[in-house]
């Protein structure tokens, strides 16, 4: 009898300490989400540099406004400032934690607002190496998690997209637990489970003593040898934007 009790106690103790890889992965993703809670709204200028395999580059300039929502996904408004033939083209996106995002496109030449399908997650954003799903609001609910390993302050977590329309089988995300669980690197594996792209974040700065934001995102496509560099500047967390700044009326105004 004593041995049985002892064994049971031992087993349950092991059970308590040996948290499953799935739970640990989810816990890390939640910790990262929590660390970024409360930024309310922000604006940022973005320069996107597209580089083809011969090293030729082309640039796009965008302005992004984001409104944080806690009960549902964030809202964002993106305005193109260059190339000049698409200047004023803007998108309004309401991300949802569960289900398809709502998205509208404003075409400035004919002043038309068009609701567009958010079905095309895996497609490239304006000819870049970033897919739409790489740029949309990262909600915890969109992935299943598996903790892989720990390397000093770096934690590697495998994330499997919940949505079957995703272009990936899995992503391996490297979090920095000492720096508010900011993401240092993401490796993307395509539908055939071979390494497709690597995204590295650099030039991190701490804003409002809480929010880590990288100054550049570099996405390298290993299969096509193309690259896209995103450079962020003029981060502003003091803009105090409201729901009214993320409507179709505001979308038309932003694109004019």
């Amino acid at each position: 009898m004593k041995t049985i009790i002892l064994t049971l106690t031992l087993l349950s103790t092991i059970g308590l300490f040996a948290q499953s890889a799935e739970d640990r992965g989810l816990e890390i993703a939640k910790a990262a989400e929590n660390a970024d809670l409360g930024f309310k709204s922000s604006t940022v200028e973005l320069k996107m540099t597209l580089k083809n395999k011969n090293g030729q580059t082309s640039e796009r300039l965008l302005t992004t406004k984001t409104l944080e929502l806690t009960e549902d996904g964030d809202k964002s408004l993106i305005v193109f400032n260059s190339p000049k033939d698409v200047k004023g083209t803007s998108t309004l996106t309401f991300t949802h934690k569960i289900g398809a995002d709502d998205q509208w496109l404003f075409l400035p030449s004919i002043k038309r607002v068009k609701r567009i399908s958010s079905n095309n997650k895996s497609g490239p954003f304006v000819g870049s190496e970033f897919a739409y799903e790489d740029l949309s609001s990262q909600e915890v609910e969109k992935y299943a998690y598996k903790f892989l390993n720990e390397n000093g302050n770096l934690l590697n977590v495998e994330q499997d997209p919940v949505d079957p329309k995703s272009g990936y089988t899995r992503r391996i995300v490297t979090y920095n637990k000492d720096k508010g669980y900011r993401i240092e690197k993401v490796e993307f594996y395509d539908r055939k489970n071979s390494l497709l792209k690597t995204l590295t974040y650099s030039g991190y700065k701490l804003y409002k003593n809480k929010f880590w934001r990288a100054a550049s995102f570099n996405m390298v496509n290993h299969q096509s040898n193309k690259e896209t560099l995103l450079q962020f500047s003029d981060y502003n967390f003091g803009v105090d934007l409201a729901e009214e700044d993320f409507t179709q009326v505001a979308l038309k105004r932003a694109g004019n």
Binding site: S58, K84, D85, K87, G127, A242
Partner: protein, 401 residues
């Protein structure tokens, strides 16, 4: 003396606060853009009417200027347009937009000349009525003239947006001149088309629109009361055309349901005037195969049915037709895209095919190619029969500064 220096300090204080306020709230941003476009239109077939030409080289200039302050909640916007063409009537200029705008949380006010677009369908734009169509500029009716207006928009939290328009002046539609194609045997001078209203172009018109979205649904309901944008053509016994702008009431409904890769679209209007009442609708869908073979290619398929109760008097000749099209977007760095479509009359042999393609060249150039083919046009078609020899190719190249 003492008093004066006090005043002086007070003055300094006020100018300091004023300047401070200026740097903060009144930070002004300017933006000037210029597009210069060279265009060549070539009409393939011999002209149907005397005086019409085949080759139309042309140049257009589009300057744009905007001034924003108050964190972008106040602005002044200008878009000009000038085209020089072989056809005297197509040589024209316009102020597409020149308006002041102020926005504050739930409302937005615009005063001046502005462009407004309503609707969801692709092959025909029924509910879109605020601006007069620039009919000499393009065949698809998507180019518009600037409309003088006061527009007030109120956005609610749960009941959508309400738009109110006061439209104090009507602008007439321009038709092709003697040398121009896509015209009638008689050259219509826009000044010869009169108004039903005794106030003529100064009739004070109004419009209203409510729009909202719930989940997958985007809906708009609109009403317009005023001088119609389309002239109404009537005939006397001698076959002479009499055209005028009637006073109309037009109620419109537009609806889109966005469901995964499907877009379901519906637009309909009911227009009533002393001379004519009618109903028209467009119903259709768009389905997109996206990121085909993971190389970024999107292929959209479009199908729409068009009905117009006016029958052959419909100015756009779309009385009982079907439209099929495909939209191909390469999603490459040059934004290459192609739209191919065809409209077929269900009651006659008439068909119109079209191709529109565009691609950016370098960073600041853009090339466009357009073709419209009028095929087997039924000679009994009242409007379209005039255009049966007007199939054309159009090539343009734009430089952006």
């Amino acid at each position: 003396m003492f008093k004066n220096s006090n005043l002086y300090i007070l003055f300094l204080f006020f100018s300091y606060t004023f300047l401070n306020a200026q740097t903060d709230e009144r930070k002004v941003t300017h933006d000037f853009e210029l597009e210069i476009e060279a265009e060549y239109r070539y009409f393939i077939d011999d002209a149907k009417f005397q005086g019409q030409q085949d080759h139309f080289p042309s140049i257009a200039i589009l300057p744009e200027y905007s001034l924003q302050w108050n964190k972008g909640y106040e602005s002044l916007n200008f878009t000009g347009f000038l085209r020089i063409d072989k056809d005297n009537e197509r040589t024209h200029w316009d102020i597409r937009e020149l308006y002041y705008q102020k926005a504050q949380s739930k409302w937005e006010l615009s005063i001046g000349l502005k462009k407004v677009y309503w609707g969801v369908t692709e092959s025909n734009h029924l509910v879109d009525i605020i601006n007069q169509t620039d009919a000499v500029e393009s065949f698809d009716g998507e180019d518009k003239l600037g409309q003088p207006m006061v527009q007030f928009t109120y956005t609610t939290d749960n009941f959508g947006s309400f738009d109110f328009y006061y439209l104090p002046y009507h602008r007439k539609r321009t038709f092709a001149g003697e040398k121009g194609r896509l015209r009638f045997p008689v050259i219509i001078d826009k000044d010869d088309i009169n108004y039903e209203s005794s106030a003529e172009e100064w009739r004070q018109d109004a419009a209203f629109r409510w729009s909202h979205y719930f989940g997958a649904f985007d809906i708009g309901i609109s009403h317009f009361y005023g001088n119609g944008r389309e002239p109404l053509f009537t005939f006397d016994n001698q076959g002479n055309i009499n055209a005028f702008y009637p006073v109309i009431n037009q109620t419109g409904l537009d609806l889109q349901v966005t469901q995964n890769a499907f877009l379901w679209k519906f637009e309909s209007i009911y227009r009533s005037s002393k001379a004519q009442d009618f109903f028209a609708l467009v119903v259709g869908l768009e389905y997109t195969f996206s990121n085909i073979d993971s190389n970024g290619l999107d292929i959209g398929l479009l199908a729409e049915y068009l009905y117009d109760e006016r029958d052959e008097l419909a100015l756009n000749a779309l009385q009982n037709d079907v439209f099929f099209g495909t939209r191909i977007a390469f999603n490459d760095t040059q934004d290459t895209s192609i739209l191919i479509g065809g409209i077929s009359d269900l009651e006659s042999s008439s068909k119109i095919f079209s191709i529109e393609a565009s691609r950016r060249i370098g960073n600041s150039w853009k090339a466009e190619l357009e073709a419209r083919i009028f095929s087997n046009i039924d000679p009994n078609e009242f409007i379209l029969s005039n255009f049966q020899e007007d199939s054309f190719l159009r090539f343009s190249i734009s430089k952006f500064f």
